[in-house]
Amino acid sequence: MRVLVKNSRIIDASQNLDKIGDIFIESGKIKNVGKNISPNADKIIEASGKIAIPGLVDMHVHLREPGREDKETIESGTLAAAKGGITSVLAMPNTEPAIDCIDSVERVKEIIKKNAKVNVFIAAAITKNRAGREVTEVKKLKNHGVLAVTDDGSSVDDTDIMHRALCAAAKEKILVICHCEDKKLSALGQVNKGFTSTRMGLRGISKESEYNRIKRDIDLAAKTGSRIHIAHVSCRESVEIIAKAKKRGIPVTAETAPHYFSFDESEIWGFDTNKKMNPPLRCADDVLSLKQALAEGVIDAVASDHAPHTENEKDVEFDKAAFGVTGLETELSACIKLVEEGLLDWLQLTRLIAYNPASILGINKGSLRPGSDADIVLVDADKKWRVTRDGFVSKSKNSCFIGKTLRGVVECTILNGQIIYKNESIPG
């Protein structure tokens, strides 16, 4: 099968490319990118006026299967990803049971093979049952295709065990993703500690609970040489610690999620449980700092931290409501806003949402170089859409963007040269 995507504005950070042209796809791979390349194609996709970028690589996604199929399944989550222009996801291991051994990895792989609509890569737990007590068999996990280890949702509290885990990870050269939270400081907290927790009359989650743990994990990375990646960075202090560590040459990368740079804490003052997540929305100054960090490359990637929950778990008292928001279907539009604001150009954007996360995970994605897998998204960057509860493909509706108008619509998602999602309005 040969496919020609014609006349789009092609943007690809891996080649520093931003020009109008055609993309020729053969046998699921990108064959050629250029102007007026008109080889015989079986299918032509006319894409003038659209932007073509590499399919997004979202390195922080909770697909909930196995165990919580009422929230999301590998099938529903990857359908949502396709609609959001995301062609590769890293699935977090905090399922029920946790993905912490090769048996569970193999079982998940089977479901992926059967039901996944986009590429699903697997992160496994770093300790057994994510209990923070016994390090998993990192070597075996890696041999079975696991790309990273993490207890995401919790941090490994015991420094000695984290040290051991990083030693094992360093030996196997596998990435460790760190959910940085000192539960002793954040226990029972609901919202950002400070003016927000005070005015809402709720317990707070301090920034210290995040950045103290980032400090610890960076120290351990420096000591062990293990590659670490800091998940969902939410505040200025964390950004500064990461920037310093990078300057010292410590092998650390970091991500933030769209909600942290799209909203500040005032968004939650109306007690909307769909805006409750952990870490919580922070101050306006933190939002500013995250944006700068994205522009300057201190934060390497944007990841959704897609955390689906049922309405039963959200339609309750604020302090009883589950933490987490969905994000697969709004990630790209939220990022396009940064281009609109003049903070990033499109090349920087594709680096943050595709090329960098692919490089961090060591996968042949996030690029439109000839020879890469033909995972491409066609975007109408100017078209506006209103986010509604009923518009989601995900099984869960707990988005903090409901009611907002966003710019940038995914018109078409191509995976290995095949169209897997098409917005109704695109002809052909």
Partner: protein, 302 residues
């Protein structure tokens, strides 16, 4: 839901409506037909005597039908969610749900899901708007104005919904508010709500027009932030001696129930400067006003 969301004009409307309702309670037949045919449900998830009674009396003096839902005997014990309980009450064609709940934001969350009017009778540490309104009403009655008044709120500010509602209400009406407590009972960045902060009781009440004394909620001792009772009384307790050093004719308020000898001495609580029982009486007028305005107008939330 709270005074945070009300404008200065809305607060003033409630206060002036309350003033006209106050007279009703002095009549021989203490009843007006303003809410005849309306149903008010008191949904109390937390123990409360005075607020529940006050709302009940207020509703009855407006001729509404009142139902008290006692949570111990209800299906909440069987696992029913807040919103389902609310919808069931609404299905009984209740016009107003008066809710007390231990979770901050509970009234706001329920109000979004039901069409009945929801009146917040206290939610967690968040707000207790009718208490603050009656405090402000009482102050205004005593001094004739709120603008420019100096008010000190003293006690467990961190866990106090009364403090938060008073802060919003008083600052909107132009009062100068100081909050005073041992440092661990002052929540972070509260000065951003427009108040001064102090941990020295004598300095904080120096020259004030009124002091609103909060109950030390020793039952919430999970955070070990609470000082010893006697030590608290010594440093923060409102005594005649402390008051006389601070100034003359300082009005003493307390939302109740009071802990004599902990946050306030008996002689002050029962003394001439205390308006504690007048607050209780005024509470009825203020709650009548709130129920009347809520049921009388469009769907509106207080």
């Amino acid at each position: 839901m709270g005074l945070e969301r009300l404008s200065k004009a809305e607060i003033e409307t409630i206060l002036s409506t309350a003033a006209s309702f106050k007279e009703v309670s002095t009549r021989e037949i203490k009843k007006v037909p303003a809410l005849r045919g309306k149903t008010v449900v008191n949904l109390f998830y937390e123990p409360s005597t005075r607020t529940r009674m006050s709302f009940e009396v207020a509703a009855k003096r407006l001729s509404a039908d009142v139902i008290n839902v006692a949570i111990e005997t209800s299906s909440v014990r069987k696992g029913e969610t807040l919103i389902d309980t609310g919808r069931n009450i609404e299905a009984l064609k209740a016009d107003i749900i008066v809710m007390r709940h231990s979770s901050s934001g509970a009234a706001a969350i329920l109000a979004k899901k039901v069409n009945a009017n929801v009146v917040n009778a206290g939610d967690g540490w968040h707000e207790h708007p009718t208490q603050a309104l009656l405090d402000i009403f009482t102050l205004k009655e005593k001094t004739g104005k709120i603008k420019g008044l100096k008010v000190c709120i003293i006690g467990d500010i961190a866990h106090s919904r009364v403090a938060r509602s008073n802060i919003w209400g008083l600052t909107k009406l132009g009062a100068e508010v100081t909050v005073c407590a041992p440092r661990l009972l002052i929540p972070p960045e509260i000065e951003k709500m427009g108040v001064k902060v102090s941990d020295d009781a004598d300095k904080a009440i120096k020259g004030v027009d009124a002091v609103n004394v909060l109950r030390m909620q020793f039952e919430r001792d999970e955070e070990t932030a609470f000082p010893q009772r006697l030590e608290y009384f010594k440093n923060f307790g409102i005594t005649r001696e402390r008051l006389s050093k601070a100034g003359t004719s300082i009005i003493v308020m307390h939302p109740g129930p009071i802990n004599r000898g902990v946050e306030i001495s008996s002689e002050v609580a029962d003394g001439a400067s205390s308006v504690i029982l007048e607050q209780v009486t005024n509470g009825i007028a203020v709650r009548m006003a709130v129920l009347f305005l809520v049921a009388g107008g469009e769907k509106k939330k207080t």
